[in-house]
Amino acid sequence: MEDIKKRIRITKFLDYIFAIVGLLSTLVGLALLFTLMTDLFMDGFPRLGYKFFASFPSRFPDEAGILSAWVGSFLVLLVTASAAIPIGVAAGIYLEEYAGKNWLTNIIEINIANLAGVPSIVYGLLALVVFVYFFKFGESILTGGLALALLILPMVIMATREAIRAIPNSIREASYALGATKWQTVQFHIIPYSTGGILTGIIIGLSRAIGETAPIITVGALTFIAFLPSSPFSSEFPFISFKWLFDPFTVMPIQMFNWVSRPQHEFQLNAAAAGIVLMMMTLLMNGFAIYIRYRFRKKIKW
């Protein structure tokens, strides 16, 4: 009897210990995130100021800034979004609403799951050959944006599918019962009801694109750019110019990478400052995505 009681005590004690160990190992990641942010802020915060955002990179660390980098990141993201969103959402709608259960659908599904696991740098190699040399877009904003679009396309497709799958069948049936065609059902019911989920997925995908470095390096973004791309507005008719698409560029993570790799401590402080800006951008985008998901969940009750 004593023996059994003792064993129960031991197993209960072990259970208790594991609860603590489990909590601690869950917190390791959070601790790292916290240390990382603190470290970045301590090194980089003094550098953050108007001048840092408004200056070009320079040989002198005190004068160097991220103007060309954040403008580049913004424009690249614009290209990425305009390529990945329409194709990704359309593919997601097709797979959920139109596709029959056949071998082709099966292949497309397996293929998307596999694409999501391809290392990002491989997309860079693909973009180098296809966009830079085959289509002759050069080492331009257009190439960089399209490379990142390839990368986030599987994420957009999967988010769209998940959002659509959450819509109950009764909605579709009600729409068909009123004589709506398939596209009318999609246009007036499926797309509006899944907007929240799709937007969340798109923003998370774009936040990954903004921090992605490797594919942009392989397509040949420059590390030192002391000018801005040409303006999208022109004084002559038709007032809008797309010349900027073919301009050379740099992006935030590449600017940071360039500064990290330099031996001088002053440049590494610049890297930390660029890191803070980059982290803030991704965290804000992720926070926004979580907010949207929350808002739409509250609004729609099936």
């Binding site: 869950t26 693909l126 296809v130 398939k182 921090g211 991704t282």
Partner: protein, 296 residues
Amino acid sequence: MKRKLTRKIKEGAIETILFLSALSSVFITISIVVVLSYESFGFFKEVPLIEFLTGREWTPLFAEPKFGILPLISGTLLITSIALIVALPLGLTAAVYLSEYAPHRLKEIIKPILELLAAVPTVVYGYFALLFLTPILQKFIPDLSGFNALSPGIIMGIMIIPYVSSVSEDAMRAVPMHIREGSYAMGATKLQTAFKVVIPSAFSGIAAAFIIGISRAIGETMVVAIAAGGMPNLTANPLEPVQTLTAYIVAVSLGDVPHGTIEYKTIFAAGMTLFLMTLVFNIIGFWLRKRIREAY
């Protein structure tokens, strides 16, 4: 009648556009395979496959170039192993805790924050490995060189915890409640239930999580490009600098490599090796995940 016809045409056109968008993903995969094979084929016309696979030196940019991929593969595997030694126990323990122990409220708070770990740009992790972790490790291990495999390996391990823990947790949650209840009814504690009942039942899902973690670690680029050094090095010593497949591609791309030269083709041979390595793991992972869905 006419209205019906135009409507039919419109519906058909829209369906075709949507179908083509879905098909584009297959087209991307085909392009990846074609591009990598084509450019590597050009490489293997100049370098015999045997030399590539068995050579122990990788010095394509030297005057007397040597093309043995082994140092890059060993560097990749060394850093991946370090990352896994960190990520597997922590990720699995976190998953068990979140799925079996954590109160619902706590879980709702912790999970999104854990996902943020995967959202931080990898170049920031690289900064952290090189300028924060390496100096700290050097205080404990005086032999550690400024660039080494250990520090990026550890950071990468923590980085992939969310991948490992979220997939394992999904697998454990898929284990039906009545199996746990059976175990509790026998007087088992949560710990005993978790390790003797839930984990074995969710085994293929957990294995899939590990494999996805491996594949992530192999393909990770910036952390190693920044903190592991740039020297191909056939070694199993984590204190030395190494170069991975991905870091090599970055290093070459940063320089100005003329299109069509042998140096240009090496990045595709390295890329092909990388693609095949991750493909094998992705296929195993996909198959294992499919099995959990079928199990119950």
